[in-house]
């Protein structure tokens, strides 16, 4: 990726993550659409031999052989038996029955996690810079589980099964499948076994935001990653005939519009279809569109397809207007015709102009790439949101990372829009999603693993979470683009990832396999359900288990709205991974309806790996409306390190 290393504070010459061989022993397994091995992001120059513990393979298939792997891309496998059992044999004229990526998504995520440095990367000149993955010296193993017809659980489970056997250190999965209970969800089941082997598992939170309860990948042994923006934009202004200008974004490159204003029409008025405003295939009337710029509403069909529909009908350009579902979030696309995306408010104003002017006119002004955009990050509207629909006592997502307009490696099999008619081929593409934020965290976890080989997956996650930030440099809270208001822990979890701070967190909330089993016991899972995850017999003993004592780095506290005093006690244990020191607690809370106290208020650590426990008491002192929420923060600090945890209060 370009820009995200700088945005995250990586890539400085005096980096705390040196270009040493320790990080090059870390292997990231990426379950996705495969890999385009010819991408420069997988150049292995300067890398040493494949790590000695590696047991993986480079599988042969359509347009792919063992020679496609090297010391960067050390493994490539494909899993299609489940897919073919449901949808029939793979049509190799449409997709490669091999690890080769015909989609682009897998190449993008793999290169984001651990791509090598590529100078002069860009998409048509946009987002130009030195592209690199987060962990440039980590190795990549691609496990292709997603095909044209989807990703099937039997294939995903086998891929994780194989990745564990191959000895990956980090698993990156930018996919999800709804909200099944943990023991029914192949990603969660596979991730549990991976966690047992010390493998860090990061997954995308999903793109079902900004609705509440919209998260995927909720298991507490998974690090769940939401998406935020960068400080980068691709402005393309809408300039109306009445002299007004509106901000938009675009990645269009090609023939420019004439320097004069062009006739302008709303798609709904150029169609006989009831959904004509959406610019669906075959809905625009060419006679009404030809020679004009068309404004289309976002939704239902792909954004880039709307552009191709306008183009096919003879339109010269497109303005794509957000609706309430997307608000002011602007996602840039490499459209096939001059086009720009505008927010809902701008779209509404532009449509008012269209309806009020008998001869409306417009042009689009493309401004290229702009960096230093503030505020940034903001939580992406599409990023899925909490609360946790399976275990409300666990706050999810865990963290946010860059996931909007991310440039990374791309497949040579298709163009940047992914449309069949797009015959352009690009080495890098710019796309958005929690799919893009997940591999950022996977790569950062690989850096931490390289720097601290003895840290468990839970310790790595804790370091990432407790050092995440929730305020801008000016002290204001990170915003949610869906509302324009400050985001909450249900949107950003512990906050935005800060890999520099995560390198030296001071203290971590660690978890063992037994802790996770105790967590399942506390959820009253049956022996069979737990055995399905642990592969062992009868794990729960005749003792009292408590979800509130599960040593998670965040707090989700649930109260009944009936009122009266309700006391909830949560116990946590901190492990010292830094120098000796004394940490003092501080508390923040938005609400007076919950009294929070911590005992003890001071923790003194005299040596590394020493553990100290504390108890937080949450006392709800009054009635709140059902479905209301409030938020707070617990912070331990020794003056140098800050170990922060978000608190989410919910009343049901």
């Amino acid at each position: 990726t370009t820009r995200t290393p700088e945005f995250l504070g990586l890539g400085k010459s005096d980096s705390i993550y040196p270009e040493s061989d320790s990080g090059s022993d870390v292997i990231i397994g990426v379950l996705d659409t495969g890999v385009w091995p010819e991408s420069k992001s997988f150049d292995d120059t300067g890398l040493g031999p494949v790590p000695s513990g590696w047991k993986g393979a480079c599988e042969t298939g359509t347009n792919f052989s063992a020679s496609n792997c090297n010391r960067k891309l050390i493994g490539a496998r494909f899993f299609s038996k489940g897919y073919e059992a449901t949808l029939g044999p793979i049509d190799t004229s449409r997709e490669s029955k091999s690890p080769r990526d015909d989609d682009g998504h897998g190449t993008h995520t793999a290169s984001t996690a651990a791509g090598s440095v590529v100078e002069g990367a860009s998409l048509f000149g946009y987002a130009q810079g030195s592209a690199r993955g987060m962990a440039t010296r980590a190795r990549i193993a691609a496990y292709k589980v997603c095909w044209v017809g989807g990703c099937f659980s039997s294939d995903i489970l086998k891929a994780i099964d194989q990745a564990v056997e191959d000895n990956v250190n980090v698993l990156s999965m930018s996919l999800g499948g709804g909200m099944s209970d943990y023991y029914r969800d192949s990603v969660a089941v596979g991730a549990f076994a991976a966690m047992e082997k010390g493998i860090f598992v990061s997954c995308s939170a999903g793109n079902a935001g900004p609705s509440s309860f919209s998260l995927s990948n909720l298991a507490p042994w998974i690090t769940t990653v939401g998406a935020g923006t960068l400080d980068r934009d691709f402005p393309a202004y809408v300039s109306l005939g009445n002299g007004k200008n509106f901000s938009g974004v675009s990645l269009y490159k090609g023939n420019t519009l004439p320097g004069t204003l062009l006739p302008f029409i709303y798609a709904a008025n150029a169609s006989n279809a009831t959904n004509g405003n959406l610019c669906m295939m075959g809905t625009l009337i060419p006679e009404k569109v030809a020679g004009k710029i068309v404004i289309c509403d976002r939704g239902v069909n792909a954004r880039v397809q709307k552009g191709s529909v306008v183009k096919a009908a003879g339109g010269l350009g497109m303005v794509l207007a957000n609706t309430a579902a997307n608000g002011e979030e602007l996602v840039a696309d490499a459209h096939l015709l001059p086009a720009t995306s505008v927010g809902q408010k701008s779209g509404d104003d532009i449509k008012k102009y269209l309806s009020s002017d008998p001869k409306p006119s417009v042009t689009i002004l493309f401004e290229g790439t702009k960096v230093g955009v503030q505020p940034s990050p903001v939580v992406a509207a599409f990023s899925s949101r909490g609360p946790n629909s399976i275990t409300p006592e666990i706050l999810k997502p865990d963290i946010i990372a860059p996931g909007v307009n991310i440039l990374a490696g791309w497949s040579g099999a298709l163009g940047p829009t992914g449309l069949p008619i797009d015959d352009r081929r690009v080495p890098f593409n710019i796309i958005s999603g929690t799919s893009m934020s997940c591999p950022h965290v996977s790569g950062l976890a690989a850096l931490l693993k390289g720097a601290h080989p003895d840290w468990s997956p839970a310790a790595i996650r804790s370091a990432l979470m407790t050092t995440a930030y929730t305020v801008y440099k000016n002290g204001r809270n990170i915003l949610d683009i869906a509302t324009g208001k400050p985001s909450t822990p249900f949107d950003h979890g512990a906050g935005h990832v800060d890999p520099i701070a995560a390198h030296d967190p001071g203290l971590v909330y660690d978890l063992t396999v037994d802790d996770y089993v105790n967590f399942l016991c506390a959820l009253n899972y049956t022996d069979d359900q737990i055995s399905g995850l642990t592969r062992k017999e009868g794990s729960c003993k005749a003792k009292k288990y408590s979800v509130t004592d599960f040593n998670y780095p965040s707090f989700a506290v649930n109260f009944q709205s009936t009122g009266g005093s309700t006391v909830a006690k949560y116990t946590r244990t901190l492990t010292n991974v830094g120098p000796a020191g004394t940490y003092k607690v501080s508390l923040k809370s938005e609400t007076q309806m919950v009294k929070v106290s911590v005992v003890p208020e001071t923790l003194t650590f005299s040596q590394r790996n020493e553990k100290k426990s504390y108890t937080v008491t949450f006392n709800a002192v009054g009635a709140m409306k059902p479905n209301s929420n409030s938020f707070g923060h617990i912070e331990w600090s020794d003056g140098k390190h800050t170990v922060g945890s978000p608190i989410a209060f919910s009343w049901s």
Partner: protein, 83 residues
């Protein structure tokens, strides 16, 4: 339209309950599967993340398999999507 359509399932086995007569767990899985379906074949066997296998079964075969000793669960295939 098939009279008894088959769908894919993931079967999890309690490997710790494997009868001593079986030398290898895949033999046990196969025996269990063959006892409910003459035609079903395993798509995958899982060794590290779960003990079990995936296969295509009819609804009747699923019910019969659930009654087999050592079968922990029979879950239908789920489709996931990229994010």
């Amino acid at each position: 339209v098939e009279e008894n359509p088959k769908s894919t399932y993931i079967i999890r086995m309690a490997k710790y309950q494997m009868p001593a007569v079986f030398e290898h767990h895949t033999r046990w899985y196969d025996s269990s599967l063959k006892s409910v379906s003459g035609s079903a074949e395993m798509l995958y066997t899982y060794n590290n993340v779960v003990h079990g296998y995936s296969t295509k079964l009819t609804a009747q075969e699923v019910e019969a398999l659930k009654a087999q000793p050592g079968v922990l669960s029979v879950w239908p295939e789920l489709k996931y999507e990229l994010h």
